[in-house]
Amino acid sequence: MEWEIVIGLEIHAQLATKSKIFSGASTAYGASPNTQACAVDLGLPGVLPVLNKEAVRMAAKFGLAVGARVSPHSVFARKNYFYPDLPKGYQISQFELPVVEGGRLEIQVEGEAARVIGITRAHLEEDAGKSLHEDFHGATGIDLNRAGTPLLEIVSEPDMRSAKEAVAYMKKIHSLVQYLEICDGNMQEGSFRCDANVSIRPKGQEQLGTRSELKNLNSFRFVERAINIEVERQIDVIEGGGKVVQETRLYDSDKDETRSMRSKEEAFDYRYFPDPDLLPLELDEAYIEAVRKTLPELPDEKKARFISELGLADYEAGVLTASRELADYFEVAARVAGGDAKRTANWVMGDLLGALNKAGMSITESPVTADMLGGMLQRINDNTISGKIAKQVFECMWSGEGDADAVIDAKGLRQVTDSGAIEKIIDEIMANNPQQLEQYRAGKDKLFGFFVGQVMKESQGKANPAQVNELLKQKLV
């Protein structure tokens, strides 16, 4: 039997507001436990939620960026359940009427055709606190710093057909929310995490299979791994004559397996109903248009521009627009370099990303700034240094020896373009290697490279390679 995999994702993106969604407490990460939880976050009696307008603006921005409808009327609801890190005994979320409905996003898995993934909805909600089970000697510690942090839950249609597609979609959303500056995308700190709904069905069958929900996947690698393992498990169950049951499963990255958390029968009845402490959220056309005006150039638009205006290949444009920081870096470097965007692209994707990768750094931490890289490329373009010398300059810049001009001056790396000087070196080499000269002239063309090498060596790499070629061709004859 050939199986088709069906995946839908629920992504939780923590919105980058300064304060919480319903209180004035700070959302900064890493403070000591319970120091960023005010009376509202603690759920003390009599306190009331007040909606953070900034969170609404960010949700609207997201909606517009994925071509969704930003709802003129949405409603906050209470999702009721008891848990110690849920102070009020309910989470304020949106249920029947979310703020964003019906968007779409194009994804591409390398080597496959692009596909459009539907976005069912995105809604605003508050995060819960954290239960700490270690270091409390049989008791559980509660940290409510995270309680009330604004989240945008982005729910996709079950449109993905492989774990790779799921990852591509998640990466695309990850990049998008950072482009929009509505989420810092930090997965270690839990700012961006997802649940995956996974089912399988015989190829060609329209009806969806029974799904399981994989909880709290907080890295791209885990998403891919967990989905693949779950698919294998479901295939084994069905092919072994069993039935997949609807349940919530937890991915254990240490054991590399998924295991059941609770079945559908054990699922909570959340008793959703409109929160009477909050008015419905009304957004008029003027508001939505004002938010639309603040949209930056989006990844797909940027990619198209890099291809059409800067002449980059599809693949290069794709890599360079994967994150806003990288795209910004590239654009600054290319502008400073002046002309030849392709060369800038090669340097950014090759030497720079290679070095960052090796050092485990992100683009924003690069010791070589976009201005520095662009400055160096400018020196290649104006023939001050050769591409080969540039590698040396780049390494010096990386290790903190200043910008390209400073390095070139300090190390005397300026390219020799004075043909007299180059001719002088060539003459010396010819004089010192009569045997090779004779052989070359006798027709051993391969020795041309030997002479180039000798000249470059003698000039300590500084001779302009094109000029060296030209002059050698004239003189060796």
């Binding site: 009376a39 009696p45 009721n80 110690p84 102070p87 009020k88 509660i142 109903f273």
Partner: protein
């Protein structure tokens, strides 16, 4: 100091401003009266003597310095549902017997700012759930007109204290009649403002879409003075309404010549005690004598108000009270074995029977499979009830009728029969469902017990209600009657 305890707020304010009496003297007088009479009435849960005397001394300074507001130095009692920083706030529940809020409710903060002096926190039905003040963890409150009778509820402590002249005024809250019904049963003026007029911040929630704080006083004139302090938009309460606050004292004396009064025929049905009906009839005649025009109207969905309320209010309370889980504050059971045990025993021990009943009803009506049949349907009926009033106010200025179907009943009389108890709010509940303002004013006595006349106004028409009440009180003296034992 002669009979200062029977004076209205307006009179006390004048006496304080003229220097006839100091706030410390007044405060001392009322504190003494509380000490003397509270054992019999049980109307206070907490007395804040030291704070009151300090606040009174500060008020006297303000009065001397000439920067006093109308309520500066005036003693007042607050229902124990308002969080008061540093002072225990119990909501009359074992659950909060140990709770001291680290913040002040907007409502009480405004009184502090105005220089009013808090005497203490008054008893009430547990979490404001009740119509007789018998559900309090701290015991039942007595009606000063007859100590064997209930004062009404849930603001029973506030009305008992004011009626017995242990405080010249008090705050209350009204979710289904909890200001008006006890005001009626104790012969006081009580006003429930339009929903959203007074901030709910720091007021412990019973049913968020219905709760509203208001004044309990002798006269409409005093109610206006309190409303001038309490009313207003609060950015910490998203449901408070951002519209201009009038000077509620400004229009008290306006003529009511030609005022159109509607009498809903549904409010004069078989459930209404004849003796109460006679008092209401007489009050309406008095209004006619004052130049008002009376006509019968219909509010056809009145009978649906109580059942609808007992879906909506429990639904909201069932989740509002989820935060009382024994984890962060409030009552926690001894030696919990696990999380489930912590929850069930803390809540089981901390809540009283009526609160538990409503949490269970509310949980049921919000459950999957029942939500549409109960909660959603109730919301639709709520709309119909509002539409009834909307239609009525196209032809009348004020709606009048009885506040409660009977006078004060005996302690224990209805305690075991929730449905009969719920019916004592039959005339007040639809007002909360619609979010309208309404007042109860003393209109006479039946067999020695006070009867309240209810005045219902259009949205944000509190000024007119107070004006209509004040004109009646200029012509009558029912509101100045003091129970014999407390003169």
């Amino acid at each position: 100091m002669t009979a200062m305890h029977t004076k209205t707020i307006a009179q006390l304010s004048a006496a304080l401003h003229s220097g006839e009496v100091s706030s410390v003297e007044l405060t001392t007088l009322f504190l003494e009266r509380i000490k003397q009479h509270n054992p019999a009435l049980n109307c206070f849960i907490t007395m804040t003597e030291a704070q009151a005397l300090a606040a009174a001394a500060a008020a006297d300074q303000r009065l001397k310095a000439g920067d006093a507001a109308p309520l500066t130095g005036v003693p007042i009692a607050h229902k124990d549902i308002f969080c008061t920083a540093g002072v225990k706030t119990t909501c009359a529940s074992k659950m909060l017997d140990n709770f001291i809020a680290p913040y002040e409710s907007t409502c009480t903060a405004k009184f502090v700012e105005a220089g009013a002096v808090m005497l203490g926190k008054t008893n009430m039905d547990e979490f404001a759930m009740g119509s007789s003040n018998e559900t309090s963890y701290y015991g039942a409150v007595k009606n000063p007109w007859d100590l064997e009778r209930v004062p009404g509820g849930s603001s029973g402590g506030s009305v008992s204290a004011v009626a017995a002249r242990l405080a010249p005024a008090a705050t209350g809250t009204d979710t289904g009649g909890s200001i008006r019904q006890p005001a009626a049963l104790c012969g006081l003026t009580g006003l429930k403002p339009t929903y959203g007029r007074v901030s709910r911040f720091g007021m412990i929630a019973f049913a968020s879409s219905l709760d509203q704080a208001g004044p309990i006083t002798y006269s409409a004139e005093d109610a206006a003075l309190l409303m001038n302090v309490m009313a207003g938009f609060d950015e910490r309460d998203s449901t408070s309404v951002d519209c201009e606050v009038p000077d509620y004292s400004a229009n008290l004396d306006n003529s009511i010549e030609g005022l159109k009064i509607g009498l809903p025929k549904e409010y004069f049905d078989d459930g209404l005690d004849d003796r109460v009906a006679r008092v209401i009839d007489a009050a309406v005649k008095e209004y006619e004598a004052l130049g008002a025009v009376v006509k019968e109207i219909s509010l056809p969905n009145t009978a649906l108000a109580v059942p609808t309320y007992y879906v909506v209010a429990p639904a909201e309370c069932s989740t509002n009270l989820s935060r009382f889980d024994g984890v962060r504050f409030g009552h926690r059971c001894d030696d919990p074995q696990d999380l489930f045990d912590l929850y069930t025993r803390s809540r089981g021990e901390g809540f009283g029977a009526e609160v538990k009943r409503r949490i269970m009803v509310g949980t049921y009506v919000l459950s999957a499979g029942y939500y549409d049949a109960y909660y959603l349907k109730a919301q639709k009926i709520r709309r119909l009830i509002s539409d009834d009033f909307r239609a009525a106010f196209e032809t009348v200025d004020v709606i009048m009728g009885p506040t409660a179907p009977t006078t004060a009943f005996k302690l224990g009389e209805k305690a075991d029969d929730p449905v009969t108890m719920y019916l004592s709010d039959i005339y007040t509940i639809s007002v909360n469902m619609a979010g309208l303002p309404a007042a109860s004013i003393p209109a006479g006595f039946a067999d020695g017990l006070p009867v309240g006349l209810q005045l219902i106004g259009n949205y944000f028409d509190e000024s007119r209600l107070l004006n209509v009440a004040h004109k009646y009180q200029q012509a009558t003296d029912w509101h100045l009657q003091v129970p014999a034992a407390f003169k």
